[in-house]
Symmetry: C2
Subunit: 567 residues, 2 copies
């Protein structure tokens, strides 16, 4: 079944997404669609080449003139290791890595073996004014782990040795993992524990970055998985956690609920490394479901799809996942999905017209998990709601395609850069009542972001949007954007920064949150005070000052409003 | 149906629970059971008498020698008003009010008309070093609103004028209320809004204090309602809120979810007035269900009941509520429930023995809400699970009794004091794996709390326990205790303090939380650092210092570890 996944497949790729030997090239249909919307791409971005990149980064770009003092712990200063920990996985990170324009590498990479070594490191770094960047899977798309050029040396702390299942309470459904444990290792360890029912456990947290990202990173950024509708976001999954900070430890016990003062877990979740390093977390796990089934339905319009999504959520239909694509995303999905079946498209179109769907329609995926009779019952309850909103069933094929590709999409970005096409994603969330206007205004802002009326040259931006994390009171909106690369990589980064600024302004103006699940990082930080308020920022900064008095942790992230989009 | 409730019925009673003219006297069966377990009570506590009490509180007990400076806002200094705001509704509060042994009254009561007046008050109080106690329904059972005798004058801020429905977003299911709105007013305002489906809305938050307590109080103490299994605790219900603090405002927007930094709502929820005064909150509301049905099942043993509860929760049966009483509580419930049907008891006992229930068994209530076919389906799913654990159906009668009395139990306390019997409740929560041992050790601690082997005199303590807020990973445990009053009311307060200390030590030792839904208040504060850790307390204190630099808000609560149980 779909929860079964292969073990970690070999070496991480440097300078791009994923594992060596894996790829997800764009289909001819996607390239044709993009060429139609953007014009033909003309400036491929050169591929990443580690040796060439290191040679280009003469002196290996120390972040400051000051060299790293002795911190009394074991450190790696291997240039390739430092390069592998210089940047996250945002679009500009990929471009800077490919073009050797990374402003700085960390002076060293630490891999503490236990909490004590980490405490020692943080103490020494505080005394010596060395900055520390916690690193889980390095998959931040908000500049959350990037090494800034500045006055202080930087050590990146890779948590890969604080990993693995430490304890399982099968009665309560609570599992304690080291923070550096990545998604596949978590699921493998839980699946192997079959006490009681004979069926293993699952955390049920499957973000798109699942193959690379870690529990500590999810907690630090308030991540959401693709099945969050059933399992909850990380803020629901984490029952307890431990944080090691320069000034001491925070050990928050795993409790089902508590009224013993404010919930300090929720202060640590989303703290993005500014309060300390999360070293372990106790998460709520469940018995693995027998199966997961995902089916597709075409909704006549985006408005119909939103209404139907809301009806499903507010009606309490126990779905595992719900995804609703807007018209452009549906167009692309159908083009790609029906590739090789050229005959099928006009047939499908005619059939849909017969059922009252005039435009391309909006693809809705609904998934249910559990035992087979429950799955069928839930999907039938959902289908009845969708039919009332004009939905036309597309059967199981769209679901199978989505399940097959659910963790492959990030590979596409690297492949598109090879073709001279840039793609990025961004996301927000808002109450249902604000969602239609918010989706429209973010789309409009993105589509117009590269218009330069004065210079007479206009680059187009293609935008796809979907709902993927719905709640009773609102939903996330997830945008994928495409534009052509410029001749000069710096200009491509600038184009990207313009789309990012335009979308963020539209999100703030439209009453959306700055992020539903990517976090604030460095790139949203200039707008953070608009959402949290000046007092809110002061409270988080106060907590950071209490736990990290020397201010060494994750410089530039969350609390520093400097615009770092083009750095 | 059961969600329909009468409008607020007249005047609040002074010096006791509830409204004038209402009572819930103990049945003869309950008194007989108590006499069997504790011996006959001999020292009734004199009833509350406002005039006598005020006369006894000579000089009306100003909290400090310093008189109240002019704060530039309208204040009530009426002695009866001050007396009505001197204490919460804990057992020792009732005894102190009845015996005129309250250590202090507030100097005055403020009722700000809007946020601006409140801001003005907090500013003036900060400058003049006047302490401020926020007051919602005044139903704290943890000393959370009590006026301490001390160096500074005290103003209690009653939020009754910051009340009412301010906005409703029927599409998203979000309603904004003033913090001073009490339970019945919230439900009445929501029930009246029938846009869309024609059926009104409900918040679904029904704590036992529902008739008196307010949204602001619920938020400040992380309250839970009796149907929290369906609707969530207050921490899930509050989507956004506003806090007015001496140093500024915190306005946290209502969002379905967010990864934009730490969740500051969760720092305010449970802050018990130390960070500021919550003035309004936006809560998640739902369409009112067509009906709520509650049925009873007798489980053979406590262990069977716990296993079955866990199976229901982890199996995802969508119940509205689940309550499981232990053997003593079941014995009392059956005795009281079958009063007037003396013939029924031996019959029931014989029938149960036939079905394999040997002791008194454990009463389980399961409730479901929604449309009628769904209710039946859910209750049947639950019944199937209960049967597998040996459950014997008791039908709808126990549910009807419980629904009728669900908000009446607090009246019992006053009536028992008239008879010379003291009763109190306390609660905790823990993962399922720790629950059986925790329940046993708290029971043992309570039962032995009034043993004085050296003095040779031993008062017995009768203890009832139930599960009422279950989760996938654990549950709350709610204890009701009874003991006889002493001749000297001070000695009765001391007896109570001994039970409280014994239970709290057992909770901490057994890995439970200090409170599932009553909060820390003044009375659990000596143990707070054991749960939050020294760093955790420092973080909350740091937030309080940022928002309330003069430290005027709610002295003695949450962050002050002084033992105030006997004050």
């Amino acid at each position: 079944m779909s929860h079964e996944r292969e073990a970690t497949p070999g070496r991480r790729r440097l300078g791009g997404w994923g594992f060596e030997g894996r790829a997800f090239p764009p289909s001819g249909e996607l390239l044709a669609w993009l060429a139609r919307h953007l014009g033909a791409p003309t400036y491929p971005v050169p591929p990443f080449d580690a040796e060439r990149t290191l040679a280009a980064l003469e002196g290996h770009r120390e972040p400051s003139g000051r060299s790293l003092p002795d911190l009394g712990v074991s450190l790696s200063t291997d240039p390739l290791d430092r390069l592998a920990h210089a940047r996250g996985q945002g679009l500009s990170d990929l471009i800077r890595l490919r073009t050797a324009s990374v402003p700085a590498l960390p002076n060293a990479v630490a891999r503490p073996a236990d909490d004590r070594e980490l405490e020692h490191l943080l103490g020494a770094a505080s005394r010596e004014q060395v900055r520390v960047i916690p690193w889980g899977g390095g998959t931040s798309v908000t500049g959350g782990v990037n090494v800034p050029a500045g006055e202080a040396p930087v050590v990146t702390v890779d948590l890969e040795r604080l990993a693995g299942l430490e304890a399982l309470d099968p009665v309560s459904g609570l599992a304690t993992f080291g923070a550096g444990t990545a998604g596949p290792a978590i699921e493998a360890a839980l699946a192997a524990r079959r006490e009681g029912s004979g069926r293993g456990f699952t955390l049920g947290h499957f973000p798109q970055s699942w193959e690379l990202s870690t529990l500590g990173g999810w907690a630090a950024t308030r991540a959401s998985g693709q099945e969050s509708l059933a399992y909850g976001d990380v803020q629901e999954l984490v029952a307890g956690l431990e944080l090691v900070a320069p000034s001491g430890r925070l050990e928050l016990p795993a409790l089902p609920a508590s009224a013993a003062g404010p919930d300090l877990r929720q202060l640590v979740l989303g703290s993005e490394g500014r309060l300390g390093v999360i070293t372990r977390a106790t998460v709520r796990v469940r018995r693995r479901p027998e199966a997961l089934r995902v089916v597709g339905t075409l909704m006549p319009t985006w408005a119909d799809g939103l209404d139907a999504s809301r009806a499903l959520l507010q009606g309490g239909v126990p779905l595992e996942l719900l995804r609703l694509s807007d018209e452009p995303e549906t167009e692309v999905a159908l083009a790609v999905g029906l590739a090789g079946h050229a005959w099928a498209r006009p047939l499908l179109r005619a059939w849909l017209r017969l059922r009252g769907v005039r435009g391309s329609g909006c693809m809705m995926l609904t998934g249910a998990a559990g035992a087979l009779p429950e799955i069928d019952e839930t999907l039938e309850r959902a289908a009845a709601v969708l039919r009332r909103h004009g939905g036309v069933s597309l059967g199981a094929a769209p679901g199978r395609t989505w399940l097959r590709d659910r963790f492959r999409h990030p590979y596409l970005r690297d492949a598109l850069l090879d073709q001279g096409l840039a793609t990025d994603t961004l996301e927000t969330a808002a109450p249902w009542s604000r969602l239609p206007a918010l989706a429209a205004s973010v789309r409009q802002a993105l589509e117009g972001a590269l218009e330069s009326p004065l210079e007479g040259e206009t680059e187009r931006v293609a935008v796809l949007c979907h709902v993927s994390h719905p709640y009773r009171d609102g939903s996330s909106l997830y945008f994928t954007l495409f534009f052509r690369c410029a001749a000069d990589p710096e200009a491509t980064v600038e184009r990207w920064a313009r789309t990012k600024r335009a979308a963020t302004e539209a999100i703030v103006a439209g009453g959306g949150t700055l992020s539903h699940h990517h976090g604030i990082g460095a790139w949203h930080a200039p707008w953070y005070a608009l959402e949290a308020g000046a007092k809110g920022v002061e409270l988080v900064a106060g907590a950071a000052a209490a736990l990290d008095p020397a201010g060494i942790l994750n410089p530039g992230v969350l609390l520093d409003p400097t615009d770092r989009l083009e750095r």
